[in-house]
Symmetry: C2
Subunit: 260 residues, 2 copies
């Protein structure tokens, strides 16, 4: 699905927040609760005002297209709520999800004229959209922001290398164990309440998405999760949550130890 676009094609204004440039709007970045876990952390008060001025907030329902593969690369996004999936496809429909961007993560960076990947919301998502010229101005005006983006992209590259190791060399069991632990860590960072959420993993995506992320089929993902449940390594929790019962064992499996 592409997101509802009342008038013109480009600013896909499914849910742009009413754009009166009020105090509230200028303050948006200042009061942003996940700021300290994102790029924007590198900004001082003046910079935050510039950020708010340079961006618009989008509120999007699940399964909304944010970026279409091959479209002109016009914007850059920062996720402030929910989870976005990034992917690449082959002509016959095979798809690889290259990553999930949770709150605090950016997406949409490209040096090419067009995006080489697609992006779609997994659940209810809020993001800040920066059009490319504005982003470039910000980078030039705020060196610490640029340094921060460089660091963030460098981290993404390291993540990508880790995922290549998973895709190329891990077994199905190891892949799923790695995924569940990663989702637990992601939940840690996102969740506000500490305690008792310590061993919860947030899994808002479907089996299809998990399979396309791990280079498996949905059946294999399902069977592997069932096996972990049978072995009491995990248990179901409410909603799209999974409780990790044995982090240590799962970590052993994830890292390729033969241990049980």
């Amino acid at each position: 699905m592409t997101f509802p676009s009342p008038t013109s094609a480009l600013p896909p204004v499914g849910g742009v927040v009413p754009a009166s440039k009020t105090d509230l709007d200028v303050m948006r970045c200042l009061v942003c609760d996940i700021r300290n876990r994102s790029l924007c952390n590198s900004m001082d008060e003046e910079g935050l005002a510039a950020l708010a001025h340079s961006s618009r907030q989008l509120i999007l329902p699940p399964s909304t297209t944010i970026i279409e593969e091959g479209e002109p690369a016009l914007a850059f996004f920062n996720v402030t709520r929910g989870t976005v999936k990034l992917f690449k496809s082959l002509p016959d429909g095979r798809r690889q999800i290259t990553g999930f961007a949770d709150a605090g993560q950016f997406l949409g960076l490209s040096t090419a004229q067009t995006y080489s990947f697609g992006a779609e919301t997994v659940d209810n998502v809020r993001l800040c959209r920066f059009m490319r010229p504005q982003l470039e101005t910000l980078l030039s005006d705020y060196p610490t922001f640029e340094r921060s983006l460089l660091a963030a992209v460098t981290d993404k590259l390291a993540e990508a290398q880790e995922q290549m190791l998973l895709l190329g060399r891990k077994t199905a069991r190891e892949k799923v164990a790695t995924f569940l632990l990663d989702r637990m860590k992601a939940f840690h960072l996102t969740a506000n309440r500490r305690q008792e959420a310590e061993t919860l993993a947030s899994v808002p995506m479907t089996r299809v998405d998990i399979a396309d992320y791990l280079g498996l089929t949905i059946e294999t993902v399902s069977r592997t999760i069932s096996a972990f449940r049978r072995d009491h390594l995990i248990a179901s929790a409410e909603n799209h949550r999974i409780r990790i019962l044995s982090v240590a064992t799962l970590a052993n499996i994830a890292s390729g130890q033969k241990a049980e």
Copy 2:
């Protein structure tokens, strides 16, 4: 070698070039023949002098460790000649090569205290080494250089995503076809002589390396290359070279078309 080497013969293989800060040393970056295909391209004449001053040239034989997984991340490198492999390993020895850095490519960027990956020369390699503090100074002093690095890392991330698609969703046949075409493109960029090198691919790495890069075994790589040769899509050439006989067919295979 292509550019005139003014006075002293090139330093002996296996070590750091004698570090007399002579004109020659200051000029190193100015006369670098692959400069225009690397990060350094963004530098003006003054910047190039600073680059030369901030770096040392290393000349290394094949199978030399450049970066050890888990070691402190002290340096950043720019490859000026030859090919370097980057990889990650599992405790039991399984290995994933995450990329090959040919002349003009950088490696060694990390925001963490330690490297999360290893790097080793494939053939005879020359590289420029920047210690981290010097690199950071350069980034701060030369904004165009920093912007250029940001663009380069962004490109690497796009490459990594492409490789994830390959690892997660392509067949052995598609993987090998993609690899051969990529090596052809890499040779294009690296080779000085044009013409008749148009369809040559440089493959300095072993079957083990290719297998670890594509998430296959050496036997499967060997069989697949043999099949391509049998089908007259490729032919052996001198050294570690492969001639691509049908770029179009190989490209079809690489992109997942069912075409023959």
